[in-house]
């Protein structure tokens, strides 16, 4: 039995559902492998682990996923969560549009996150640029706190931190990601699944089956959200009310169309290049065959 090391994050990623629902077990038996989940609290160490070969596959935010696909010998395999990101303001805020952010303090989770370019895009759509606001980098998990405490006027972060802030009643959505950058099925893209190229090349069938289990998991999320919520709570320890809020209020959106199609990736790449996160020469590598096959 060999270990297949998968990097995950404590977020509502479908791979947890696949595990909890027992979709991974047949694959483990079939290939005589053992899926080992390694949890990283954010993308940076996860990508470093991928770079050294300590993990073979990874599930992470779209930002780290694309950066890894561009800068490491790695490929994007699937887009596993849509949406997920929003700009939040305190619930009694007078800010009603992105244009109102001019001169305001905005918290964000760092350049490596997808939230950063998204913020830039939102600003430029409203005729502003990054110098029109005051930026504060912090951890994604702290953005909600800063907004509800009114230390900042607005903040951009991902789910479940968005749902948590909203559920507390002290924050509201200024704008959702899908309104800023509809990339796929009229939604923004939130979470990616990617892996080391050599691992994918050496284990194509295993990767294929794994993609299948992710699609299966997303089907379960859509058909039996309550079961999925229970699974997540069990696997990651999330508070149930926050996840319910997220699913029911469509803060996180799941689609069985997990394909990283060329146009989506290209748009996202240009978007990251515009934001100065990817350099012009960076071209993320992706492979949509597995996703396409899995969706059949």
């Amino acid at each position: 039995t060999t270990d297949v090391n998968i990097g995950v994050q404590p977020a509502t990623q479908p791979i947890y559902i696949a595990k909890a629902a027992g979709y991974l077990q047949p694959i483990e038996e079939k290939y005589d492998v053992n899926f080992v989940f390694h949890s990283f609290s954010y993308g940076a160490p996860e990508n470093q682990a991928l770079a050294t070969g300590a993990i073979d596959l990874a599930s992470a935010g779209m930002g780290p996923a694309i950066i890894a696909s561009a800068r490491l010998p790695a490929q994007l395999l699937a887009i596993t969560i849509l949406e997920q990101t929003a700009i939040l303001v305190p619930s009694d805020s007078t800010i009603t549009s992105v244009a109102d952010l001019k001169g305001k303090k905005v918290a964000y989770p760092g350049k490596g996150s997808q939230q950063f370019p998204l913020l830039i895009k939102a600003l430029s759509d409203a005729g502003l640029d990054i110098n029109d606001i005051e930026l504060f980098k912090t951890k994604g998990s702290n953005v909600g706190q800063l907004v509800t405490q009114k230390d900042v006027d607005a903040g951009i972060t991902w789910d479940p931190h968005v749902s948590k802030a909203l559920a507390s009643g002290e924050a509201k959505v200024l704008i959702k990601a899908e309104e800023i950058l509809p990339l796929k099925s009229n939604h923004y893209i939130g979470n990616g699944f990617y892996g080391r190229t050599d691992f994918i090349d050496n284990n194509p069938e295993l990767v294929q089956d794994l993609m299948g289990s992710i699609v299966q998991a997303i089907e379960l999320i859509k058909s039996e959200p309550e079961t999925a919520i229970d699974y997540w709570q069990k696997e990651i320890g999330f508070p149930k009310d926050v996840i319910s809020f997220s699913i029911n209020q469509q803060v996180s959106v799941y689609s069985t169309d997990i394909s990283p199609d060329a146009s989506t990736v290209e748009k996202f790449t240009t978007f990251l290049q515009d934001a100065g996160i990817l350099e012009a020469s960076d071209t993320p590598k992706f492979n949509e065959t597995f996703a396409k096959n899995a969706m059949k």
């Binding site: 994050q9 949890s39 990283f40 609290s41 770079a51 948590k164 990651i236 320890g237």
Partner: protein, 255 residues
């Protein structure tokens, strides 16, 4: 003064301190009314702690973190103390070695994460390495300063009483003479080692108190965060009192 401390009496100040902290905590919660997602009440935290204890989960976390910290700390002691003894006595070695130390010392455990992954992967050794980095320097610095403060006449006495090799002199004279200061370094290092546990367990950990805390932050469970902090604090005190006991035996400098 007759100073025979009975074990229970010795624990009393800690209980008082604990009580004081809980009281202040409760007052802060009462006055600021922070969202429980940020600062839960002592009661809520105690409850979570109790659940963690009952499920046995807590002990898994504790033993994971403790074994990491202890391994790293022992490793650091094994390397830093001999190096410190040499550096403190050999001026030429110090001249070359010290700048290297000073270049690396201010670099955060967090900044070592990529290199830890590169060299040690995501297993235990990488985590131990990060804690090692955090424990190594206080031990080294205190050892060096302890050694330098050894009264030269002690060294002379040792030499003329038959410590004819540097090694014997180290073991028989310099080490015991510098022991009180070295022990302070080891105490400080244990604290900094504990404090590095979160950074260390950011990398692909499945258990441990640092994991409990950072994971708790990510999964929005501040009660877990606080419970983890409380456990780290209490364990820190327990371990520190062990050092204190040893210190009393070794600290011949005081009556």
């Amino acid at each position: 003064m007759l100073n025979r401390i009975k074990p229970l009496q010795g624990a009393l100040p800690y209980f008082i301190a604990g009580l004081a902290i809980i009281t202040v905590w409760q007052i802060v919660v009462f006055l600021l009314q922070p969202s429980p997602a940020i600062l839960p009440s002592p009661f809520k935290t105690a409850n979570t702690l109790w659940e963690l204890i009952q499920s046995g989960e807590l002990f898994i976390h504790i033993s994971a973190s403790l074994s990491r910290v202890v391994s790293a700390w022992c490793l650091a002691a094994l390397i830093a103390i001999p190096l410190g003894l040499i550096q403190g006595t050999n001026a030429r070695f110090e001249k070359v070695f010290d700048p290297v130390v000073e270049l690396f010392r201010p670099i955060s455990p967090l900044a070592w994460i990529p290199l830890a992954i590169l060299w040690f992967g995501i297993g235990e050794s990488g985590k131990i390495f990060i804690i090692f980095v955090a424990t190594f320097f206080p031990m080294l610095l205190n050892t060096v300063s302890g050694v330098k403060a050894v009264d030269p006449v002690m060294i002379r006495a040792g030499k003329i009483l038959g410590c004819d090799s540097s090694f014997k002199l180290f073991i028989k004279v310099i080490l015991p003479a510098a022991m009180p200061t070295i022990l302070v370094g080891m105490r400080i290092a244990f604290g900094t080692g504990w404090a590095a546990i979160i950074a260390a367990e950011l990398v692909a950990a499945q258990n441990g108190l640092g994991f409990l805390i950072s994971d708790g932050m990510e999964i929005l469970r501040s009660d877990l965060v606080l419970a983890g902090m409380v456990v780290i604090g209490v364990l820190g005190v327990l371990i520190d009192s062990i050092f204190r006991l040893i210190g009393k035996k070794v600290n011949w400098g005081q009556s």
